[in-house]
């Protein structure tokens, strides 16, 4: 009966059902209704899609924020105590390579903007960073770059040296005027793998060469990854006071960055961990020294 009625237009069907005897209607109703349900779902792809989407969204949706563990379980250390341990772990290491590092854990959303910026420390971390500047020879920029402290400045002589494999610098900056010459020289194969090839994206192709050189000499680039900002903060020979100054400057800068973001985004510093190149991480409690920590004069030098 159902298949018969399905061949007819809807209006005809309703006519037919109204003509049926009341006795048979009872058995007919569930059959018809079930049939209509199938038809409805099949012929309405929009509704189907909506249903699926709702399901997948539900399963995908995780926590919007990074998980914050309770720091009550964490033993925290005063700066001097942490330094004492770290200096013990770094004993006998190459003094030029060992550095203090901090890891700043933020309270933040999983998506949304991240903090990335540059910072100048009161006490310079890098022992020596050699910077090379590519700009037209004899130009104003050349003089400025040299005055700012670039080790190598020039165009053709730099290219030739690089081609020979003599790379006596850690950073390469290019002036837009000589970018074309640089690209023509085909140095990408040499410089690219070393991460030295200048490009506008990384901020190494700039008009104002001199200020950039100065920034790179004393500055450290940092960015937030998975809610943590990691950066080197001091040489191992630093005194606790020097390290404290650098730490303060860093935390203030990060707070400023967090405040400078969108109004609706709320970022807070959650935990600060001090570690070193070969040492473990010590969560800091914000104190400078505790009762059991040694004299600060003992915690400097190599």
């Amino acid at each position: 009966m159902a298949s018969y009625s399905s061949l007819m237009p809807t209006a005809a069907r309703s006519l037919l059902s109204s003509c049926l005897s009341p006795l048979r209607q009872g058995s007919m109703a569930p059959l018809l209704s079930s049939f209509q349900q199938v038809r409805g779902a099949k012929n309405n792809p929009q509704a189907q899609g909506k249903k699926n989407k709702e399901k997948s969204k539900k399963s995908k949706k995780g926590a919007r924020e990074f998980k914050q563990r309770d720091l009550k379980d964490m033993d925290q250390f005063a700066l001097c105590d942490a330094m004492r341990y770290l200096r013990a772990f770094e004993v006998g290491r190459e003094p030029a390579t060992s550095k203090y590092e901090i890891h700043v854990r933020l309270k933040t959303m999983k998506d949304g903007p991240v903090i990335r910026n540059m910072l100048r420390f009161p006490h310079s971390v890098q022992t020596e960073s050699r910077i090379c500047v590519v700009c037209p020879a004899g130009s104003r920029h050349e003089k400025e770059a040299r005055a700012a402290g670039a080790v190598l400045v020039g165009e053709q002589e730099v290219f030739e040296n690089v081609k020979k494999g003599i790379i006596e610098f850690d950073r390469l900056i290019c002036h837009p005027d000589s970018l074309e010459a640089l690209n023509k020289a085909g140095l990408g194969r040499v410089l690219g793998p070393r991460g030295l090839m200048p490009s506008a994206k990384t901020g190494t192709v700039v008009e104002d060469v001199a200020s950039r050189v100065e920034m790179l000499r004393g500055g450290t680039v940092y960015r937030e990854r998975d809610a943590v900002i990691r950066l080197p903060i001091g040489q191992l020979a630093f005194t606790p006071e020097q390290l404290r100054d650098n730490l303060r400057a860093t935390l203030e800068q990060i707070k400023k960055d967090a405040a400078g973001l969108n109004d609706r985004i709320n970022k807070e510093i959650y935990e600060v961990v001090l570690s070193s190149t070969h040492g473990p991480g010590f969560s800091l409690n914000g104190e400078f020294k505790s009762d059991s920590s040694p004299d600060t004069a003992f915690l400097s030098g190599l």
């Binding site: 563990r69 006998g92 473990p280 991480g281 010590f282 969560s283 040694p294």
Partner: protein, 206 residues
């Protein structure tokens, strides 16, 4: 960042306890605690070669095990380490005494030339210990004898911590065996099932 508990466990039970307690956890005589017998010590310098053959193993172990503990208990003491490429070269520890060497040191000092050690200042006297073919514990005993270092005994809390670590080590050994057996049983089961299925396939083909 790694889970708080993981970090804590590693830091507290492995790294910190290791640097506080063990061979070499001792306080060397400083300017304030120097006696007539044992004058103050100003710095230490260690030289050894990169590879262990030629008797350099103990020296490296001394650096790995004892020096961090010494540094922790004597934070003001300067310690330098030089790893050389010269396998035939010396493996030596140079001890710098303020003003004069201790009697024990001058008696046991070896006549080894260590050209990597920084030159002593006019007020310093040095004693060189030959470390070749010595265990790091033997080296430490020698150093202790020469300098008159006062060993720092483990506090009751540290003892308890060490005991806990030992217990965990034993438990983990037991657990390792148990889990290996479980995994093996599961693998055997799977293999048997696989074989049974294979036989059915064979029967079908016939």
């Amino acid at each position: 960042m790694v889970n708080v508990f993981k970090r804590m466990r590693k830091l507290k039970t492995v790294r910190i306890i290791d640097v506080r307690v063990g061979t070499g956890a001792a306080i060397l005589p400083s300017v304030t605690s120097a006696t007539k017998e044992f004058p103050a010590i100003t710095r230490l310098h260690l030289t050894y070669a990169q590879k262990i053959y030629g008797g350099h193993q103990g020296a490296r172990h001394f650096w790995r095990n004892c020096l961090p503990r010494l540094k922790y208990h004597n934070p003001g003491l300067q310690m330098t380490v030089k790893q050389t490429q010269e396998q035939e070269g010396p493996a030596a520890l140079t001890i710098y005494f303020a003003e004069r060497t201790s009697n024990a040191a001058s008696l046991t000092a070896a006549k080894v030339e260590d050209k990597h050690a920084p030159a002593p200042e006019s007020t310093e006297k040095t004693a060189v210990v030959d470390l070749k073919n010595l265990d790091y514990k033997e080296i430490w005993n020698k150093v202790k004898m020469m300098t008159g270092a006062q060993e720092v005994p483990a506090t009751p809390e540290e003892e308890a911590e060490l005991q806990k670590l030992e217990q965990m080590r034993q438990q983990s050994e037991k657990d390792r065996v148990r889990i290996a057996a479980m995994r093996q049983a599961k693998k055997d089961q799977e293999r048997m099932l696989q074989e049974a299925r294979g036989e059915i396939e064979k029967l079908k083909q016939l």
